[in-house]
Symmetry: C2
Subunit: 269 residues, 2 copies
C-alpha cells in the first residue's frame, strides 16, 4: 500500500472527498501519522482548487492545526477555496470524522518551475552517511510496508531501548527519505516527508509521544529524482513545548521543503 493509493480520494460533491486512513501509515498507538494526514489534505486542496479553475498545483505554504487525533478508517475531507488568484490560490481543508473537524489546514498554492534554481540564497545541504551505511526504518512511524523508508545516519540517529528512545543529546536527526519503488517524489508528497521523522526531542530527553500542535511547511522546489535528505532538529525545549525544524533537500542538493512545528512535551520527573 503506497502513499498514492493510501491517499486516494473519492469525490463526494460540494468540495468534499472521502479518504480511508490506512494502518500502513499509523504511528505507535494506532493513530494516523500527522504528515500522512497532511498529505491527504494537500491532495484534496489541490483537487478542489483545480476544480475552481486554479492553475496552482503546488502547496507552497501549508499551515495545520491538530485539534483531535482521528482514528484509522474512513474520514471525510471538506474543502473551501477562498481565493483563486493570478499568482496563488488559497484553500482551507478540514479532516472530519463523525462530521467533527479533527485536523484543519490552510493551503497557499502556487506554480513552481521545473528544475529552477534559487534567485538568491541557500540553505546548504547537510552531509549524511551513504545510504548503505544508514539504518533503515519504514517511513512515518517505522512501518516496513508503506513503500517509503527513512535511512538514518548512524551519527544522527536514535536508539530504541527498553527504557524508550534515546540519542546523543544533539537535538538533531539526519536521514535519507527513499521511495522503495524509486518513483518520483512530487511536491504534495513533500508534506508527508516534512513530518515523517520521529521526534528530534528523543535525542535529548526520553518522553512519551510528542504530539504536534501546529505545523507549517513550505514547498520551495520540485524535487529532482532520487532520495531526499532530511535534517530534523529541535532548537529550544521550554515550558513543555519544543520547536522542531525540518529542512529537506533533493538529490541535487536543492532545498525543496522547510517545515517548523510546535510540539507538546511532557518532561519526565
Amino acid at each position: 500500500m503506497d502513499l498514492e493509493r493510501a491517499s486516494a480520494l473519492t469525490p463526494l460533491g460540494g468540495g468534499r472527498y472521502g479518504v480511508e486512513l490506512r494502518p500502513e501509515f499509523a504511528i505507535g498507538g494506532g493513530k494516523p501519522n500527522g504528515g500522512y494526514m497532511l498529505h491527504c489534505l494537500g491532495r484534496a486542496a489541490v483537487a478542489a482548487a483545480a476544480a475552481e479553475g486554479s492553475a496552482h498545483p503546488h502547496p507552497v505554504a501549508t499551515g495545520v492545526q491538530y485539534q483531535q487525533s482521528p482514528d484509522l478508517g474512513a474520514a471525510v475531507i471538506e474543502t473551501e477555496v477562498t481565493r483563486v488568484g493570478r499568482s496563488v490560490s488559497q484553500v482551507t481543508a478540514r479532516l472530519l470524522q463523525d462530521e467533527r473537524p479533527h485536523v484543519v489546514a490552510r493551503f497557499t498554492l502556487g506554480a513552481l518551475a521545473e528544475a529552477s534554481a534559487p534567485y538568491w540564497g541557500e540553505v546548504p545541504p547537510v552531509s549524511i552517511a551513504p545510504l548503505e551505511e544508514c539504518n533503515s526504518f519504514g517511513g512515518g512511524g517505522g512501518r516496513p510496508d508503506n513503500g517509503t523508508r527513512l535511512a538514518f545516519d548512524p551519527n544522527h540517529s536514535i536508539q530504541f531501548g527498553p527504557d524508550g528512545p534515546s540519542g546523543d543529546g544533539s537535538g538533531e536527526l539526519r536521514a535519507w527519505f527513499v521511495r522503495d519503488d524509486g518513483g518520483d517524489i512530487d511536491p504534495v508528497t513533500l508534506l508527508y516527508v516534512c513530518d515523517a521523522m520521529p521526534p528530534a526531542t528523543f535525542t535529548v530527553v526520553q518522553s512519551g509521544w510528542v504530539p504536534t500542535l501546529d505545523l507549517t511547511a513550505y514547498v520551495r522546489a520540485i524535487p529532482a529524482p532520487g532520495p531526499l535528505r532530511i535534517r530534523f532538529r529541535v532548537q529550544v525545549i521550554a515550558d513543555g513545548f519544543a520547536d522542531e525544524v525540518a529542512d529537506v533537500w533533493d538529490s541535487e542538493g536543492r532545498l525543496v521543503a522547510q517545515s517548523t512545528q510546535l510540539t507538546a512535551l511532557r518532561l519526565p520527573g
Copy 2:
C-alpha cells in the same frame, strides 16, 4: 494611540468582537500592518478562550493566512473555541469586513511560566549596536505616532532612496523593538513584534511591497522588561517566493518568540 488602545475590543456577543483598525498601524498604501491585525486577533482569541474557562492566556503557536487585505476602520473578529484542554486551548479567529473573512488565524494557547529558563537548547541572541547608535523608525510601517519604535543596527539596516529601499545584500536585518512609554511587552504583543519589521528581502533586491501569504509565530517565554532584539532574515528567494524568519530575544537574552513567513515577491525585470 498605543497598541493596547489600537487593539481594544468591543464584545458583540456570540464570540464576536468589534475592533477599529487604526491608521497609526498602517503600512504604505494605507492598509493595516499584518502583525497589528494578528495582535488584534490574538487578543480576541485569548478573550474568547477565557470566556469558555481556558486557563491558557499565552498564544504559544499561531498560524495565519492572509486572504485579502482589509481597509482601515471598523472590522469584526469572529472566534471559534475548538478545544479547552488541560495543557492547551485552541481557537480559530477570523477578521471580517462586510461579513467576509480577510485574515484567518489559528491559535494554540498555553500557560508560560514567569522568568522560566529553557529545559534544553538555545538560539543565541545576536549582537546589535547600542540603542543610541541605531536608526529609529516608528514600528510597523515606520509611523512615528504608534508608541513603538524599531531601532536598526546601522550594519544590518536598509536605506530608502529615490529608487526604493536597498541594503547590503546580506538578507538580514537587526533592530531593537522599543515601547516609547517603557511599558512591559506582553506575550500577545509579541505577535505584533514578530511581523513589525520591513521585508528582509529589501536588503537583497528592490521590489514593490512584499505581501505575506502565510505566517507562523511561536511565543516561547514571557519577556523581561526592556527593549527586545529582533533578527529578521530571508533564507531563500525562489520562484517568486521568499521565506523570512524572525527571532526575538528579551533584555536578558532569552528567546521569547520565533516566526517564519512565506512572502510573495515580484522580481524586477
